[in-house]
Symmetry: D2
Subunit: 383 residues, 4 copies
Amino acid sequence: MRRTLWITCFLLAAQFSIAADQPRARDLGIPFDGTPGPLNAITDVAGVTVGHTTLIEDLEDGRAVRTGVTAVLPRGKDTLLRPVFGGWFALNGNGEMTGTTWLEESGQLEGPVMLTNTHSVGTVHQATIAWRIRQGEPDASGYWWALPVVAETWDGHLNDINGFHVKAEHVDAALDGAASGAVAEGNVGGGTGMVCYEFKGGIGTASRMVDVLGSSYTVGVLVQANYGLREQLRISGVPVGRYLREHRIYSEPDPDVDGTGSIIVVVATDAPLLPHQLKRIARRAALGLGRNGSIASNGSGDIFVAFSTADVSLGRADQLLDHQSIPNDAISSLFGATVEAVEEAIINALIAARDMTGDQGHYAKALPHDALVEVMTSHAYGP
Amino acid sequence: MRRTLWITCFLLAAQFSIAADQPRARDLGIPFDGTPGPLNAITDVAGVTVGHTTLIEDLEDGRAVRTGVTAVLPRGKDTLLRPVFGGWFALNGNGEMTGTTWLEESGQLEGPVMLTNTHSVGTVHQATIAWRIRQGEPDASGYWWALPVVAETWDGHLNDINGFHVKAEHVDAALDGAASGAVAEGNVGGGTGMVCYEFKGGIGTASRMVDVLGSSYTVGVLVQANYGLREQLRISGVPVGRYLREHRIYSEPDPDVDGTGSIIVVVATDAPLLPHQLKRIARRAALGLGRNGSIASNGSGDIFVAFSTADVSLGRADQLLDHQSIPNDAISSLFGATVEAVEEAIINALIAARDMTGDQGHYAKALPHDALVEVMTSHAYGP
Amino acid sequence: MRRTLWITCFLLAAQFSIAADQPRARDLGIPFDGTPGPLNAITDVAGVTVGHTTLIEDLEDGRAVRTGVTAVLPRGKDTLLRPVFGGWFALNGNGEMTGTTWLEESGQLEGPVMLTNTHSVGTVHQATIAWRIRQGEPDASGYWWALPVVAETWDGHLNDINGFHVKAEHVDAALDGAASGAVAEGNVGGGTGMVCYEFKGGIGTASRMVDVLGSSYTVGVLVQANYGLREQLRISGVPVGRYLREHRIYSEPDPDVDGTGSIIVVVATDAPLLPHQLKRIARRAALGLGRNGSIASNGSGDIFVAFSTADVSLGRADQLLDHQSIPNDAISSLFGATVEAVEEAIINALIAARDMTGDQGHYAKALPHDALVEVMTSHAYGP
Amino acid sequence: MRRTLWITCFLLAAQFSIAADQPRARDLGIPFDGTPGPLNAITDVAGVTVGHTTLIEDLEDGRAVRTGVTAVLPRGKDTLLRPVFGGWFALNGNGEMTGTTWLEESGQLEGPVMLTNTHSVGTVHQATIAWRIRQGEPDASGYWWALPVVAETWDGHLNDINGFHVKAEHVDAALDGAASGAVAEGNVGGGTGMVCYEFKGGIGTASRMVDVLGSSYTVGVLVQANYGLREQLRISGVPVGRYLREHRIYSEPDPDVDGTGSIIVVVATDAPLLPHQLKRIARRAALGLGRNGSIASNGSGDIFVAFSTADVSLGRADQLLDHQSIPNDAISSLFGATVEAVEEAIINALIAARDMTGDQGHYAKALPHDALVEVMTSHAYGP
């Protein structure tokens, strides 16, 4: 008999409030640069909402469902009414992010960013179109025309990925349940079954606030982290992965064995930036990965998307559009904020994740907090 | 009661043999440059197979199914065993071709190229993964890992696109039924409900044979043609669209109204080319479109993919791979062949298409052969 | 003794007024789509100035100087004060356009576009920096910082290219002499020694006016045309090159022999477009080339740059910048205008060019007007 | 009176042997991952040669020459005879690397990689063409045709950059003097006047050896390092820049003030890689920069080029070319080697550089070794 554990974002919100005591990376004393927003989350960017559908179920024959869907809506309920400017970058394109051809061409993101597992891209793609049709209106050209952005990482170690367990209703739940406020991290949503540096990975988030030309702007990041070999892991510069060597996924640390990882990075900002500038922002995610020790191995689909909520002119075709932008010469602090928030969001994913046993009994150990603090302290960091 | 007209590739093969008398563009005396292969089709490239599933059905409330799936398998039955080198280019990226991020990164096309309507990308994506799982083995890394290439054009004028009528079994039928030999054109497969230059469009194909460094190579092209305004149409340089003005789709010829078109071009060759050279080949499709009068309008997803079947080393991870390539200095005749074959394949789609009444009674007239010949003759061309 | 024939833009202006009777392509009855501006030139875009320095000199040992420099200043005298938004595209990158890395990154063109021969790129690059230093101020960051845009095509058939005959003073003359008004075409400036479709080529220009959302905008194009084999030439769709077979440059029409061609296209507009939209504009030049029969052969550096003069906010780093843009859904008529103007500018270059004997007695015949008209007439076009 | 201190590579070789006692980064106990080659230099890749011309001269009025040229020849004396496969990437394109359009298109690097200051790109470009003409033969197409790769960073803080002090003979000297063996680092060649993290920067190099499929390959890196703000500097993960706060260049640490930096990275390998794979290698330089704390600020031209010497088939146009490649699934250790070598080469540049007073008395302090070791030791690293 099937025991369904379809945990929607609503339940997760509950879970999260229960889990409010759970530490995040900086609660453990791990030092990061810069100033986070109030939630230290992508939702610090006003209007951005996030929804998770988490699927955890044990099936017969050792098969296990450990997967889900995460939806990031740039403008919450207004996402379909007004596109945002956006840009993207693939540091290593061993993955899928649909919709990027139009994003590159148009400079616009016209709907949510959806995250799921590799083999559920199709279901999420079609369900997102169907959801849009139910919610929205034809676009400015008067036609139904949907090219949704759906990205993935591979959870086949813990999840029965060939079982195609994500269904349309799970997509709807993530979209409909998307909310502002604190964002659940770790084993949730699209990140449910993910593995990162051979520890349990998943969803992580962080944010930074910066002043540019006298105004304060926020950069928020959400990652679905599923990449890396243990010995590569650096946290705030400390080569943690060399010390915490237990419970590896890959018994032989062959750099080529990690062909199944990936990380999707979503960067949101309220700073007024044009599409070509948002490509620049997206590219900075690579530097955050670099700080954490990534080599962007062949099998890792390291794909990043950035958008700005500042422009409210988009979505009309009947008049000239008015925009503002930060001059290139004043943009660097937003680059720094992006690097820092990506760096921290990944570590937050590792800190929030919990041990998981999944498909065929495969196991992923969460990064042990105490041992981590010990290593950090031995390198002159820590609480 | 539903009357199903699910015409598989097998039926289409029959249809095609029946239709063997149907003229193609050059049968009408339209002049093209270069030397076509025996079939003047993408299947002149040895090993390439093509399968169509054509869905034509009238539903209640005026809704009509006029859509389908086309599968192009670079190596036929061996497509999953040995990747091909590939490259792609978006002249105007208002469309979707999934899998291109990995194609760009890896230089390889690891499965079929699937064509369908815009809102069925998801179904085709997932069904192609499921088909692969049933057919194949994990990849060289030992993992199931599928990033299929699925492209689309929008058939919502003639097809009830929001009805999501393409199902997994239709995808399977196109894949399983893919065959070498003559390729059905016009209202078939993914091209069933397409419109081109405001005439009925759809699938078209053509090929060229060229000698390079003493060897003969073939370039084959298949298009799913669904773009353009009437007055833009040039055939072999003759501004046909200005003369054949009846039965337009868009009553007001506003250049911005054509926001729903697109063309997908698939280029196959047996010439030994490396990935960066195949990107160059893909880019040449733009010049074939230019010859036919395209301006690549905003709404047109003009996305091109090219692959070479020459390399048989791919798919192994345990040894160095051996490749050959044509030197850049000897490549231009392959560029010319690509331009010519794209030019002709589009016209072949227009010539093969038949009048169609579809969703909500919308109508698309096929390019009238007699009137076309008359215009061509008046410009010193013709039979 | 050296007999200097350094013909500056001032002399050229005189030459041009003398040559005011010389026909342009449409004066010969060649049909083109769309509505040109008053001058049918890039200078129809208000503010754009063009300067040519033409170097024609016979040296000892059969060596001959047939080269020069062309400067296109987006804002005339104000070019250094206020950057313009810009974008670029390489259809076939066998050529050089310096400055494109920063153009792509910044979305801005911060100075003139300079055209010369392949081996004079260095001289023009440094002289343009020196000219800027003499003219201008440090940039918004307070530093001298110059990354000029210098493009080239290869004139080694008619010009002693390894003699490096372009000097800094020639660059200065082109920059200082740049003017609005009619633009000299053919054997002038950077185009002096160029060859196109094996006829004498060189500089050509054209423009189009289009209405978008109730306003009239201009698209102006300037080309330095130096590409193509004779039999590829199509004019307004007519395969002229197959009829006019005399005086070929390459005795054996091997597609791979044309390794020395190229075309640089400069597109200017006063339509408000953002950088990513100007990349789209630049890409449309490929379709104009397609209409004229180009296959973008391996040796052809087909590199295009587009800019918009509409935005006057650029160049400040101390405040948010205000921009306007045409919505993507209203942009297609600008795409069409670009295709048409590129198509015509190339033919204008061919019509304006004059027979030339150059280095080592090499000869390039100009496209004969009478014979052209005859061919066009036989295809139902002509005066 | 001018006192010329034109130090050629020959003198530098002498200088270097004298300076053999000078420590490199790992001599100070700084830990790095991976196994370097015998020289820990780009010249560990067999065939690669490096030449420096260093220009140090004090002029009147406080003006000072502190600049030079560095030449990297992929195949030493055979560089012009046989191209190498190559690829490039711009992390932040605020800089110039000429020749990249053809590198991207052809997949080949057909000559040396030249490094100099921003305003000497033109001189180096033309002189490299002239040098090629003197050395070589026309290319496979039978024509002279040179599109050299010349990259730059801005040394205007220490060097009288608007004096254009690099001359053709300096370029010749770097090219003619290029040699295998140990590579001088720090204030030499193109790096003479550079500044990095507000310490004195310049040229640095490193290498890694990795086993792939049973064979040993080398990855060598050379950087011209001129980027970054002090507080961003991380060395082996330790936030060194926060401790070593003396002698900053920019008194107010505004992230936007560092608009004049840049880093050029040259990656060489003997591993058989195709052009699209070398683009992947080039992109990994970003991760090395990330480890060292870079945010790739707006003003930093972070441009990377990679090439492989393995392929010896290139340069012929009269026959098919034979290539080998490492399968994508076995490439990751080369990615890791690139990240590591870039990380170390930058630190080597900082360690090798010496205090310099330059133009208008501007000063750049070298990274103090003792203080660095102290900081590293306090973080559990060091000798």
